[in-house]
Subunit: 323 residues, 2 copies
């Protein structure tokens, strides 16, 4: 992703300069730790690009970009406790390296730091508006995470509910990343709405793609074992389609599998076969492509610029990713 290198460099330099105090160590060191880990910084890049697309110097939106990245990392720290995840980006998760209490508290602190970033924005930027958009977005992320946890114990989740869940859990923060870029550029409300919509489309496409890659990607490149979501019995787009499209006998068996997590290796293979029998990965891919295309089309709202070109390249890059 050479074409976003200079955006990432700007973000890395800003993160490097974050003036987190030295003490209390158990509050700030976990925050520094997760920010040091290798990350793609896609969300803050989208903020910068959105500001650029609205004709303002991208540097104006840097505090908002950092705010988004901090919220993303806050949610990773807390989600990793809930998911009992032991590693993240090749490092131990915060609650493993320290403990759950330290992870809860440093996550809380990081959320506050994120909101404090918005106070670094230039005075001509509407602080009240951007703060409100940000808070509503973070609340949508919390709602998405809650729905995801509720789905774990349910077998009757439908596709609409799934889309609503990922709109919160994955897409809301991406939407907010773009919307905040537009607000930093004092763009008109039509452009701001369009940026948010592009973000939602990208986020939903990205999540469905993740669900597909779980069964189609080269596990070496993807960094997760093949069918990892199936082992965990996750209600992915593919799993919900399988529950919807399979015949009575298959559905009964699949439901039984989902009630006895983790799912056994032989059953995981059978479930992948079931996906193929009903052409589910291809169907999911077509849905995913619809969202990527929606995002791409919405770019017409904006005048041509290097930023618009970069976003188009980024959409293309994400769409064709194999891991």
């Amino acid at each position: 992703m050479d074409f976003i290198k200079h955006y990432v460099a700007l973000i890395q330099s800003e993160i490097h300069q974050l003036d987190l105090p030295d003490t209390p160590e158990t509050l700030y060191e976990p925050q520094r730790y997760i920010l040091r880990s290798k990350a793609k910084r896609v969300r803050p890049v989208l903020t910068l690009i959105a500001a650029g697309m609205c004709g303002k110097p991208i540097e104006k939106s840097l505090p908002a970009a950092i705010a988004v990245e901090l919220v993303h990392n806050f949610s990773l720290i807390h989600d990793d406790i809930m998911d009992q995840a032991e590693s993240r980006r090749g490092n131990q998760t915060v609650h493993i390296k320290w403990d759950a209490s330290t992870a809860i508290l440093s996550g809380d602190g990081m959320l506050i730091q994120a909101l404090l970033q918005l106070h670094k924005l230039a005075p001509e930027i509407d602080h009240k508006k951007i703060n409100h958009v940000f808070l509503e977005g973070i609340n949508r992320v919390c709602e998405g995470q809650a729905l995801d946890m509720e789905f774990e114990d349910r077998l009757d989740v439908n596709t609409e509910e799934y889309l609503n869940m990922i709109s919160g859990k994955t897409a809301a923060l991406i939407a907010v990343s773009m919307e905040m870029g537009g607000i930093c550029a004092n763009a008109d409300s039509y452009k701001i709405d369009t940026l948010r919509e592009i973000g939602y489309s990208l986020g939903i496409a990205f999540q469905i793609q993740d669900d597909i890659l779980d069964v189609t990607a080269d596990p070496e490149k993807f960094g997760k074992r093949k069918g990892g979501d199936i082992y965990e019995g996750k209600k992915t787009y593919l799993m919900l389609q399988a529950l919807e499209l399979s015949n009575k006998v298959e559905k009964k068996w699949l439901s039984k599998c989902l009630q006895n997590k983790p799912i056994q290796k032989t059953d995981v293979k059978k479930i992948i076969d079931l996906y193929d029998k009903y052409g589910i990965p291809a169907k999911a891919e077509s849905i995913m492509n619809g969202y990527y295309e929606k995002a791409e089309k919405a770019l017409h709202t904006f005048e041509d610029s290097e930023y618009k070109g970069d976003l188009s390249k980024l959409i293309n890059y994400l769409r064709n990713r194999e891991f």
Copy 2:
């Protein structure tokens, strides 16, 4: 506390009208649950009184008052997980009634709801300023909680460090409660600073008093067993004084007790005797009184009013509480 009844009624009515969505249930029901539990609402009352003392209708500050109460409850939900507390205000704690994941997430959501409250303030109130003061205050609370956890494994905590810890953990939110009332009333910066200082003094006095009541209060009235903090080996003001004032042999024994938590009943009794030997409860009471007096004296900054009278009564009530 009859003289604060009408403030509490106003706050209860506002909390009752909070428009939290019905779903996702696991995000919002724990928030409703903790807000339904019996609580004194001291912090939001202080916000209303502070606004009144600065000559504005107290209703103007209601959203800020509610914001403070929501943050207080957010911190209770998360602290109870960290402290593994099983009950709170006579009810099961959120992480016991549901589970730790639900408690982490609903706490996060409640923090966001608190910040969203500030968007309900009238447009003439400086949103950016009040948001900043609030965030810095919440961050101080996080710092205090981190220090408190760090103190658990240390034997060399001094009184200055202890005061810094409770300034964050207990006093910062009380200080912010009062400061925000002043900001809602568009008070001048001298008055706002004074309100914050009163809040800090009250908060510190309140916490030292809690430490004292742990060994002096009637356990029936206090609702906690006598010496509860000692059983847990907490670094209270009294314990730190005991470590500082006791002779070599006593100090060695006390340190050994603190390294083998929970402390045994016979040792708890001996520690209370040690406190008495060095006149520690009386000494702590004198420090506490100093802070209450500092708060009382600062009231001179404000013109006489029913609100100032109510705050004076409240300070007096707190100072003389026996549980």
